[in-house]
Each structure stands twice: as C-alpha cells, then as structure tokens.
C-alpha cells in the first residue's frame, strides 16, 4: 500500500464515529454469519448482507433392514436424508425470499443427533442472505434466490472469473455394505488381495450419490458444479451402513470471458 492510512487519521475517524453513535435508534440491523474476510469480500463483490437465514427440521428416520450378506442401497434411509435436508433448505430459502434476497452465501448444512433418540436428527441449514447493490436480479431461472456453500472468498473469486452461483446441489445414497461370508474370510486369510465385493459397494454408492447431484445441476441448467465435497458418514447406523453425501454449488457463466487475475506468489511468514 502506498499511502499510510494512519497518517491520514484513520484511527481518529473510527473513534469519532463511535463517539457519535446513537444507541436505541430505530432501524434495521443486519446479522451475518460471515467472518470479517468474507464480509469485506462480499461487500467488495457488490453485495450487501441482509441477514442470517436458517431452516431446520427434526426428522425421524424410518426403519429398514439391510440383508446381512447383500450389497444394497437402503432407499428408505436415503429418502429420509434427502427429504430432511430439502425441508431445511427450502425453509431457509423461504426466509431469504421474505427478505427479498438475491441469494444466500456461505450456507452450512449440518446434521446433529441430539437428545431425542437415536433415529432422529436435527437437520440445519444456515447462511447469510445477500442482495446485489447494482439492482440486477441474481435469482436462478426458477425465480428462487441462489444458494451456495462457497465461502465469501470463493464467492468473490467465482464472480471475478465470470461465473455466478445458481444453487446448491446434492446427492445422497445410504448404502448397506454386505458382511463377508466365512468362506470368503478363510480363503483370503493372510493374503494381500482386493475385496471386490467391498470395492463394488463403495464405488456404487459414491457413483449413485454423484449421479444424483449431477441430475440436480442439470435441472438448474447449470454449466457445471464447483467445490464438490464427497463425504461419508455412519451417523448412528453402525459400521456397515454408510451415508454417501455429495454436495457442491452449480454455476452459470455471466460473461463470455473467464479470466482470472494472475495470482501473486507470496511467501508466508506465518505458520
């Protein structure tokens, strides 16, 4: 930085503002779930945070038995995980709609098993609703505010590169991995060998989750998906039943040029 802001009275200006604060003044106050970096970058990108939006659903997962020796998707549980997240997300979006937001950034989707029994979990979607300062509409082609699980930093970078987020897309697959038969265990005893049954199960489950996520992106007529996270969690189902969860942000181009500024190399002195 060439000009030294302290020499121009930056701290005094800040303190003067505090001096003239009028507490208890009527008016709206915005809440955001953003860190300082994210807040400043979202502002810099031309958006104003409108408020914290959230949606929640406490959901009871039904019952389904996986056959002991069969690889199979547990579609009842898949549906439960899907439906509960959809409920939470749509409630969050409804809140953003009421605020007149163009979109929601920094969305977090959380699942927490709490005090109310082992089959029930709280599904929570939280994010910060934002509105564009230029007055253009940034909503997706279904007229809903866009959603994105990108951090404020990634959001800024995405816009710089000429892309806009359309919506969060996800795919879920709860899969029961077969137990090995006794004969199988015996025949492989002491050998380094692939277990094709297990490979197939995990492969299949991930492919299903990713294919579903892709379908959602196609429905939004997206050009692609960025920032995909592929997670697996056992929740409370034991080691052979696993949820495979794929989530990312579907994006569309806003400009023809996709030029990212040349990054500067930095040697960090911090650890």
């Amino acid at each position: 930085m060439t000009v030294e802001p302290t020499a121009q009275g930056l701290p005094q200006d800040a303190m003067a503002r505090l001096e003239e604060l009028r507490p208890d003044k009527a008016g709206h106050i915005f809440t955001s779930d953003l860190s300082v970096n994210e807040f400043l970058l979202v502002k810099q990108a031309g958006f104003t945070p409108l408020g914290l939006v959230l949606g929640t659903s406490v959901y009871h997962c039904g019952f389904q038995l996986g056959r002991w020796s069969k690889n199979q998707e547990l579609d009842v549980l898949s549906q439960a995980m899907y439906h509960a997240r959809e409920l939470a997300m749509s409630r969050m979006q409804a809140e953003a709609d009421v605020l007149g937001a163009d979109g929601i950034v920094g969305v977090r989707l959380e699942v927490e098993f709490k005090e109310w029994g082992s089959d029930a979990a709280e599904f929570l979607a939280v994010g910060t609703a934002v509105k564009a300062d230029d007055g253009r509409s940034w909503r997706n082609d279904q007229g809903h505010p866009f959603t994105s699980d990108l951090s404020g930093q990634d959001f800024w970078t995405l816009l710089q590169a000429g892309y806009a987020p359309l919506g969060m897309v996800m795919g879920v697959c709860v899969y029961h991995v077969a137990h090995r038969t006794f004969g199988n265990i015996l025949s492989n005893l002491g050998q380094n060998t692939e277990l094709p049954q297990f490979t197939q199960a995990l492969y299949d489950a991930r492919e299903l989750a990713m294919a579903r996520m892709q379908k959602e992106a196609e429905a939004l007529s997206a050009e692609g998906i960025v920032g995909v996270q592929l997670d697996q969690r056992n929740h409370s189902w034991g080691s052979h039943t696993t949820e495979f969860f794929a989530i990312g942000t579907a994006v569309r181009p806003i400009r023809a040029d996709h030029e990212i500024a040349r990054p500067q190399l930095v040697l960090g002195l911090d650890r």
Binding site: P5, T6, A14, L21, F30, V36, T157, A261
Partner: protein
C-alpha cells in the same frame, strides 16, 4: 499484608470483604482496581513494560499498523446462581384419552427467566471488562474470548478476557468498544472503513411438552418429520435471532458479524403430566456489532489474488 497504591495496608480478610462491597456497588474488586491503577500510573510516567497483552506478535503488528496500541489485558467475570427458573411446559391434561396429556397439541412456551439470567450474567461480565478497559484509558477491547462454564453446584460463570487498545490521536469514544475479533480481523475492518461497536448476544430459551403426536412420530417405522420438535428448535433459534438484533440495536450497531452459534437441548420430566417428558432448547448467538465510518484516508485497495508458497 498487602499495601495498596495509596499506601494503606490490608489484610486478606479486609480485601475479600472490601472487594465484595465494591462489586455490590457496581465497581471492580479491589485487586483489579489496584492492578489497573498501577498499570495506568506506570504508563502515564512513560515507564517501559507498562502494558500486558495476550496478543500474538501478528495481532500486535496488525493493530499497530492501523494506528492502535495495546494498553493492557483486561478481564471481567460474573458468577450467577441459576435458581428456580422453572416455567411450566404449559400443557394441561386435556381430554379423555388414556395417554399422558391426552390428544391435544402441545405449545412451544418461552422460558423468560432463563433468557434473562443468561443475558444479565453475560452483560455484567462484559461490563466489568469494559470498566477495566476504561480504567486503563483504553478505547476498546479486541480479541475477547468469552466462556460460559458451570461452577460448583448451581453456579454459572461468565468470563470475558481480552486486550484493551487505544487509538493514536486525540479522539476517544466515551464508551469503550468491545469485540471478539482477532487483531488481524480488527485491522482489516478498520482499514475497510468499519469499526466494531460492542459484543452482542442473542439467547433463546423455550420448552415444549412431548405430546402424543411427537411420541408416535418418534417411534414410527416410517420416515417423517417430528413436527413439534422442529417447532421447538426453530423457536429457540428464532428467539435468539430476535434478541441478538435487539441487543445490536441497543448499541447502535449496523451489522452483526456472528462468531458462535450454539444450541443445547435437554429432556426433563414434566411437572404437569405424570410420566410425561418435556424438552428444553437453549440457543446462543455471539458476535460483534460493527458500523461503517467516513474517512479521508484512502481505503480503495482492491483485494490481491495471492498464491501461497
């Protein structure tokens, strides 16, 4: 025997007694007063080693770079007794059913006593920290770490620790600001034309009886939402959000940057219905209220894209 800065000698018992009286009168305990007075006097005399801080070197550098300097570490604490704050779940034995509580739907009931207690305890701790800051001649506190921990029996301690800072130049606010931002975040905010105002808190506490519908939804063989519990959790969070906005407005804030979001849920046996159960949800939101300010200083530095090595 301890000798205070004014030269008077105190026995430990006298200090304990005197401190309790000072706290009751809304002032800081004696040892805190002396520490602050001594540190202040040393700074005024321009002696070296006159400030303490728990800032990292980077935080220190960042704060100095925007024209603030640390004046000392400050602390505020308040221990509260969590008394009999019971509010019934508002559910009466309704109707003819043989179930505990009959067939009617249970309402979500706020627990104002809990909400008030948590707000008050927290504000006291922060206010004491601010008093220490004012005593040191600071303009605000950065890097505040807040903790709430159970203390012996029914006690609950709120504690706030941070570093008081002072702005270069001759403008100083009447009331010190507080913020849980790190030194780096503070510096970034100031450089971008925003200044922290105060720590703000939102608390929501609600209770709801597990009515027959909730119970049957919990035991179902099928996928379904537990509607009543969703309502409970949402009400707690929503109340916290409303109280956060009210808190922010009280300090004249413009935007709140959230730091912590927490929800605690516990079950307890119901006092209204025999063998019934209630669930209590408590939601917390902690953050810092900030306001933009006008300045002649040049702030228009666009972010640099960097690739770390």
């Amino acid at each position: 025997m301890t000798v205070d800065p004014a030269g008077r000698a105190w026995t430990p018992e006298q200090i304990a007694e005197g401190s309790a009286a000072e706290i009751a009168a809304g002032r800081l305990p004696l040892r805190a007063q002396w520490r602050i007075a001594e540190q202040r006097a040393r700074r005024d005399r321009g002696e070296p080693g006159s400030f303490t801080s728990d800032l990292t070197v980077q935080e220190f550098a960042a704060i100095r770079a925007v024209g603030f300097s640390p004046v000392g570490q400050v602390l505020g604490s308040a221990v509260y007794n969590v008394g009999w704050s019971y509010t019934g779940c508002g559910y009466a034995y309704g109707g003819l059913g043989g179930f505990a509580g009959g067939w009617s739907a249970a309402p979500v009931v706020p627990v104002p006593a809990t909400q008030q207690l948590l707000n008050e305890a927290r504000h006291r701790a922060v206010q004491r920290m601010r008093q220490e800051c004012a005593g040191l001649g600071g303009d605000g506190v950065v890097g505040v770490r807040l903790a709430m921990r159970p203390y012996y029996g029914n006690g609950l301690e709120f504690i706030a620790i941070g570093t008081a800072v002072r702005a270069d130049g001759d403008r100083h606010p009447k009331r010190p600001f507080t913020s849980d931002l790190t030194g780096q975040d503070f510096a970034k905010l100031i450089r971008s034309g925003w200044v922290p105002v105060a720590l703000v808190q939102g608390v929501g506490a609600v209770i709801r009886h597990d009515d027959w519908r909730t119970q049957s939804q919990q035991r179902s063989w099928y996928n379904n939402e537990i509607a009543g519990t969703t309502q409970l959790v949402h009400a707690a969070r929503d109340q916290a959000r409303v109280s956060l906005a009210a808190d922010g407005r009280r300090y004249g804030g413009h935007t709140v940057l959230l730091q912590t979001m927490d929800l605690q849920v516990r079950g307890q046996s119901c006092a209204n219905v025999r063998e019934g159960e209630d669930h209590v949800a408590t939601a917390f939101l902690w953050g810092t209220a900030v306001v933009p300010f006008r300045t002649r200083a040049s702030l228009d530095a666009p972010p640099l894209m960097m690739m770390r090595l």
